[in-house]
């Protein structure tokens, strides 16, 4: 075990870290995404969106591959990725719960729904349950204001929600999910 106090042993870690993604060619599914966008100027956001669609989040290695293959500085890629709310750097749960907190949902009681779900799932916002089933997020307006308050589970919108209704929705979804691998 190298000691942390020793400067000479701490330094090589950096080299290994940087060199790692260059060691092998990108996996085929990632290469297919990158190939589509080579040499175009307006694709940075789109590339990140497609990587996220592929993996469910932005794995660090894939962002590094994108930087190398497309010749875009890594700092620029991360600058863009961290700017937009859509991008995430950790794997999401199998069911993504989004509580709409738009104006109509807010005055209709969305804060109470968020609190109830946090208590039920025992996680904070933007976290995933330890069993990897649920990720809880709040979003600003999904455009279903006339049905406020709205909860979205795996892309399906559920209108006219209540804290109790949201909890039983999550309970049902969790029970249905439990048997699956």
């Amino acid at each position: 075990m190298p000691s942390a106090a020793s400067g000479t042993t701490a330094r090589p870690r950096k080299t290994v870290y940087l060199g790692d993604p260059l060691a092998e060619p990108p996996p085929p599914e990632l290469l297919a995404i990158l190939e589509r966008h080579r040499g175009r100027g307006d694709v940075l956001v789109t590339v990140l969106q497609q990587i996220q669609a592929q993996y469910g989040y932005l794995p660090e290695r894939s962002v590094r591959y994108a930087s190398r293959e497309l010749g875009i500085p890594l700092a620029r890629l991360y600058g863009v990725a961290t700017f937009y709310n859509q991008f995430r750097f950790t794997p999401p749960g199998r069911i993504q719960l989004q509580v709409c907190c738009g104006t109509a949902c807010h005055v209709g009681g969305a804060p109470a729904i968020v609190e109830r779900l946090k208590a039920h799932l025992q996680i904070a916002e933007n976290q995933t349950t330890p069993d990897g089933i649920f990720t809880l997020q709040t979003v600003f307006c999904v455009g279903c204001c006339s049905l406020a308050p709205v909860v979205i589970a795996s892309g399906a919108a559920h209108g006219r929600m209540t804290p109790g209704g949201a909890e039983s929705l999550v309970r049902d979804l969790g029970a249905a999910e439990e048997g699956r691998p």
Partner: protein
């Protein structure tokens, strides 16, 4: 006999189970052997009665709602009186006329841009053509580009995104640029919480938006168009992309459009969840694949936009109004509105109101007409307190201002703005201080952080408001709020920051007694603030 059963399957319909209703209807049709076709449509706007099902038999229309999946079969059997089934109960019926004006929600409305929403199949080009689609484009292509711009100017169309800049003037400035490469952008980054006009329009009638863009391209001389659609609207993206593919196949997009020599094509760009990207310079940065931060103006996009080329940016609804100007004429279009602005405006009615949904009214009608005649007033026996108009950039108006006409100038005079069209009505159970705090938490969260007044100012204001809602405020806080608001308003870089204080300033102006109750009596009159219960 030609019979059609139409089900509204926009996002709002799907949220109430329209997909299950559609499947149940299809099943019932095949089991009963009825000679009817089932069709998916967009949203008629009457979201409070969704899922909506319209049955058309030989031109006789009956609109039913809400039709949940379990009601599908009894509805079909009853409507077509199969096996002696009783007719559907009267309280399922929304309307019995083709124009639906026998229902109070539709009676005061004038549908121009949303005329096809909920009526045609949004994924069918034939349906759009049958409804008179692309006729505006044909007429525009027969005119000179200057005449097209002049018609839009004469129609007094103003930017529907909220700022209300005259669209014709914008086109003229962009057209006059010497640069031969010009871009066109459709701003569908509808970020205002409480607004869903653009979503409904694109989901329900994507070809109309596209047609407006092509006409604009002809008027301006643009070669490429971008449609920047919010990431939260997957169905809108899908419908718009399908419409673009159909338009390309049919020769409405591409090279030499309809033999006129016009070359134009549209690319869809999905947003990535940043409210500030609704600001035009930030939006362009985002399309270019950069961080969506705004920049100083001038130069305005019309002079130097995407990659430094002249770029015309309009809102979805502005483009959707253009085909009607071409077919109906500038004179008719301008006569719909006021002497300052022509045409109609869509509003997303939501909140504590009887009939929520998407409405389209002539510019110049009063807020009272929209909220009480169309919306049916307040729900559950509560009383009207305020209407929040214009989202986080707008303001909260009290009852005494309900006779204000919905027009750019008069609304700005009250301290609110026309905005993109979100209209959230709140009743006596909503605390205005908490509502102001909510909007500040939104703008603070969405501030891009580039300029200091917005980045730090909104945080300061949010801190003061949170303190007041916790019952820890003091009298000097109100002065502090006003002072910070003034600084943010006058020194922020972009519209997001400049208008961020509006919800606070309007609530301070019209609902000061509620702030006073929180500060002096340690009491929340509406009972919303949990710390003061």
């Amino acid at each position: 006999m030609r019979s059609t059963v139409k089900v509204g399957t926009s996002t709002c319909g799907l949220a109430t189970g329209a997909e299950a209703t559609f499947r149940a209807l299809q099943e019932a049709v095949s089991e009963t052997g009825l000679a009817v076709s089932t069709q998916r449509t967009g949203c008629l706007g009457a979201c409070h009665r969704e899922p909506l099902v319209e049955i058309v038999v030989d031109g006789a229309h009956v609109l039913y709602g809400p039709v949940t999946a379990d009601r599908a079969r009894p509805l079909l059997e009853g409507h077509f009186t199969l096996h002696g089934a009783p007719p559907p109960p009267e309280d399922w019926v929304v309307s019995r006329t083709p124009d639906r004006r026998d229902y109070a929600f539709f009676a005061p409305q004038v549908k121009v841009t949303t005329a096809n929403c909920g009526v045609i199949d949004p994924l069918s080009l034939e349906d759009y053509l049958a409804a008179g689609g692309y006729e505006g484009l044909r007429r525009a292509l027969a005119m000179s580009p200057e005449a097209v711009v002049a018609a839009v100017t004469d129609g007094r169309l103003r930017g529907r995104g909220g700022a209300g800049y005259p669209t014709g003037l914008k086109w003229k400035i962009c057209r006059s640029q010497p640069d031969p490469l010009k871009y066109l952008v459709c701003n569908a980054d509808e970020g205002d919480p409480g607004a869903f006009m653009d979503r409904t329009l694109i989901e329900g009638d994507p070809h109309r938006v596209l047609e407006g863009m092509i006409i604009a391209a002809h008027g301006i001389g643009a070669r490429w168009g971008y449609a920047y659609v919010r990431a939260e609207y997957p169905l809108a993206v899908k419908h718009l992309e399908a419409a673009i593919a159909q338009a390309r196949d049919a020769g409405y997009l591409g090279t030499d459009i309809l033999g006129s020599g016009l070359d134009f094509d549209v690319i869809v760009k999905e947003g990535a969840g940043a409210f500030v990207c609704g600001e035009e310079t930030a939006l362009m940065h985002s399309i270019e694949g950069r961080r969506g931060t705004p920049r100083m103006r001038p130069p305005y996009p019309a002079a130097s936009g995407l990659w430094g080329h002249p770029t015309n940016i309009n809102n979805v609804e502005s483009y959707a109004s253009v085909p009607s100007i071409m077919t109906g004429g500038a004179e008719w279009f301008s006569s719909l509105g006021t002497s300052e602005s022509g045409g109609t405006k869509t509003f997303a009615l939501a909140g504590a109101i009887q009939r929520t949904g998407l409405v389209e009214v002539p510019i110049g009608v009063s807020l009272r007409q929209v909220i009480f005649d169309v919306g049916g007033g307040i729900r559950d026996g509560h009383s009207f307190k305020a209407v929040q108009i214009g989202g986080p950039s707008g303001g909260c108006l009290p009852e005494c201002l309900l006779d204000t006409p919905v027009d750019y100038g008069p609304l700005r005079a009250t301290g609110a703005i026309m905005g993109s069209g979100g209209m959230v009505v709140v009743d006596d159970t909503t605390c205005m201080v908490d509502l102001a705090r909510y909007f500040l938490s939104f703008t603070q969260d969405e501030s891009c952080g580039k300029c200091i007044p917005c980045r730090i100012g909104t945080r300061k204001m949010l801190g003061i408001l949170t303190k007041i809602t916790r019952g820890e405020g003091d009298t000097a806080d109100l002065d502090r709020l006003q002072q910070v608001a003034h600084t943010i308003h006058t020194t922020s870089l972009c519209g997001l920051g400049q208008t961020a204080p509006n919800p606070v300033l309007t609530t301070l102006r019209y609902f000061r007694d509620e702030y006073a109750a929180h500060i002096h009596d340690r009491h929340c009159p509406a009972g919303t603030c949990t710390a003061l219960r």
